[in-house]
Point group: C2
Chain length 440, copies 2
């Protein structure tokens, strides 16, 4: 992916007090000035939060000091090599939110994200007496840990509250009830906005979402929040394929950042969109998929491998070869049956079975502790996938999976679709700027 | 802490099928033989799970390859420098559990822990057709990440079910309702047994607890489970003091592993015990402490610092100096009041205010997502503390904290006490062996 040269992140604080009136109509310089005269400049206030890369003597970068560029044509956190920790929050606008207060929040989120993603607090931790600290402080002397912050909008934003009725992209229409969706919990699905924070350290990711929530207080409130760990897909060829909680390698055939042709074809919204504000953006599907681990753990290895059509240890397809060998759906075993079962997960989900559709998976494992109602572990996969159009990509693939043998062992309990707008190009931009009617 | 030389961990599988009859009366060699002829030897089956330390060219050990010794006078995971991730589970014995089946489980747990803590699976992931995999596999090609597994017993184990009535230590009697305990939820408190898994990788910790739960199926079942991140205390002078979710450094004055005199005086059970099976063990208090983060974040910096009596950025006491400067409770400021408030958390919890009592804190931050009942973040501190006697140490300090200004911002929602027996000395030992009447 080509990234043009972009301005350095601002040192301005994003955590202005509720008293200031920094609206989105304030220009770039005005924004900066307001920031500088508000909670103050934070440069130099961070111990250990490095802006530059630190490279150890064996040439390996220390993840604590590694940054992912914030500005760019696309938002970071999509094709960025997947980090180990996730905190994801969906927000709803409050009853008192207006188009203007939403844009103020989205502008402050952008400013805050530009600071957090270089390892800076959003303002002083130690502030003047009588005022709450600008930054909540729990990441104060941690590094930046490749933090990315990714912001999106749900279809509900486009009702008649914020003057956005004509801006709803066709691709953001709800996916409706998919074949396997019999247990979706609305309280952990949907939302007007979403924030995905990924980092190599969970406290850094938590800190980002918490401070964005704090900035938005009065305008947006968290609807649901999910922590994830142990990434469940590789989004770069530089990454070893990780394992989901079923113990299988997950994402061997995932789209990789190193193939910009595939990303352009499958991930980034292009000229085909009916809403130009989404050009360069992507659509995010999130699904909380509860795994019935106790049942899975009792299933024999042959059945487990039949379902995934891969060997559990190596990830090699049952049709032969090693992990990255192309699947051979026609190869037959001694019994005459195909080595790869017709109902196997990999066959049903494969592009060959779905008109070439692919998705960029970016899932995380999760555990919510015990489910006392059933006496089983509340754990599984927080599935996330980015794509150009979730109706023709995710939903098509998901409907192919209706007869997947895996369905016996999993239950989707949440389902959401968000429009993730393109990246921000300069200081003073805000998420959804063009959507709200300002030049992009 | 001195550790004698101990045997290398066994290569025997700990994940025997339900059909085998490996009782605790089987001697060391018998145990090994049973393992070798059961699910098989696992040596060499691990990709990437290093047994030895890997040292990078700049002399830093890679945490993926770092191991913490399993065998020793004390269990690992207590004075071990605190790792970044926690998965903690409390278990209850099932209705069909017997003293014997419990000991089989505890022996298998010991064998499994000896393998997991050197980065090995507990048995083959790829097993014979028709049998479930011995190891669940999600940590298969991850490293060991300084994994420790620590096992304890709750007071409920010592009722009339397992012949342990005479073995209840006085120090394991329930702590009763402490001054601030008005919201304790019994469903996430207590339990017959507990397993604490700590590692530098959350998936490695999760994998350990999940596989121990699987080994125990039919005999013990998880009662509650808590995941924690971003350790909230330093247990070694080699560690930077971490921060809790209130943004303050937590554990500046914590007991450190490098001071064995303090550990002997405050952490390890000695000759004073009425139950010799606990000599060399320790008592663990766990408390899930919900923080009212939204209220805290609105509190001004002066009040926050008054409560903790430390500067938020540096951790230096308000009586002056730097983070590790001794607190001066008598020093007065310009107004004539003491610089350290009398009701401050650090003063009330200080040994000088509690007859010299100290505890080894080993807490983790947590988030459970949103609390939809109150529209606030379900997050806070999963407090853990080890000590010689929780009645004279934790409970004494906690009762001193009844007037702590911090109480306005926190609510304990779980409380548990576990007896953590001493370490295992050799292959074939099991947790609680002496407690069950066998020579230690």
């Amino acid at each position: 992916m080509d990234r043009p040269t972009h301005p350095a992140p601002s040192d301005a604080s994003a955590a202005e007090g509720p008293g200031d009136r920094l609206g989105p109509r304030v220009g770039r310089r005005g924004f900066l000035t307001a920031g500088l005269t508000g909670a103050g400049v934070v440069a130099g206030a961070v111990a250990g939060g490095g802006v530059a890369y630190a490279v150890t003597s064996d040439g390996q970068a220390d993840p604590a000091d590694e940054t992912v560029p914030f500005y760019g044509d696309h938002q970071a956190g999509i094709v960025t090599p997947q980090q180990n920790s996730l905190v994801f929050a969906a927000f709803d606008a409050t009853d008192t939110a207006t188009a203007e207060s939403l844009q103020v929040t989205l502008a402050r989120w952008a400013a805050a994200a530009s600071l957090l993603t270089v390892g800076k607090p959003i303002g002083p931790v130690e502030t003047r007496a009588g005022a709450p600290p600008a930054d909540t402080g729990e990441a104060f002397d941690l590094g930046v840990y490749r933090l990315t912050v990714t912001v999106g909008f749900g279809a509900s934003m486009f009702d008649d509250r914020f003057g956005l009725k004509g801006k709803l992209p066709a691709a953001l229409q709800p996916l409706g009830q998919l074949a396997v969706d019999t247990s979706i919990d609305p309280s952990i699905s949907g939302g007007d906005l979403c924030v995905q924070a990924c980092a190599e350290d969970p406290q850094v990711a938590f800190h980002a979402v918490r401070n964005l929530a704090r900035i938005g207080r009065g305008t947006v409130a968290i609807r649901w929040l999910q922590q994830g760990f142990g990434r469940a897909s590789a989004t770069s060829t530089s990454q070893v394929t990780p394992r989901n909680l079923m113990g299988f390698k997950d994402g061997t055939d995932n789209i990789k950042a190193e193939d910009p042709g595939v990303a352009d074809a499958q991930v980034w919204v292009g000229d085909e969109t009916d809403q130009s504000w989404m050009t360069g953006g992507s659509y995010l599907v999130t699904r909380k998929i509860r795994m019935h681990l106790e049942a899975w753990d009792s299933d024999d290895i042959s059945d487990q491998e039949r379902i995934f059509a891969r060997h559990k240890d190596s990830g090699a397809p049952l049709s032969g070869g090693t992990e990255f060998t192309k699947l051979d759906f026609h190869k037959r075993g001694d019994t005459g049956a195909t080595a790869i079962d017709r109902r196997s997960h990999v066959r049903l989900a494969h592009p060959d079975n779905n008109g070439g559709a692919q998705i960029l998976r970016r899932g995380y494992n999760y555990t919510d502790g015990m489910d006392n109602r059933t006496g089983t572990l509340a754990a599984g996969l927080f599935f996330m996938a980015y794509q150009k159009n979730a109706h023709t990509q995710f939903a098509r693939i998901q409907n192919s999976l209706a007869e997947d043998g895996l369905n016996e062992y999993i239950t989707p309990i949440s389902s959401s679709l968000f429009a993730v707008p393109p990246g921000l190009n300069q200081i003073g931009d805000w998420y959804g700027k063009e959507m709200f009617g300002y030049p992009g």
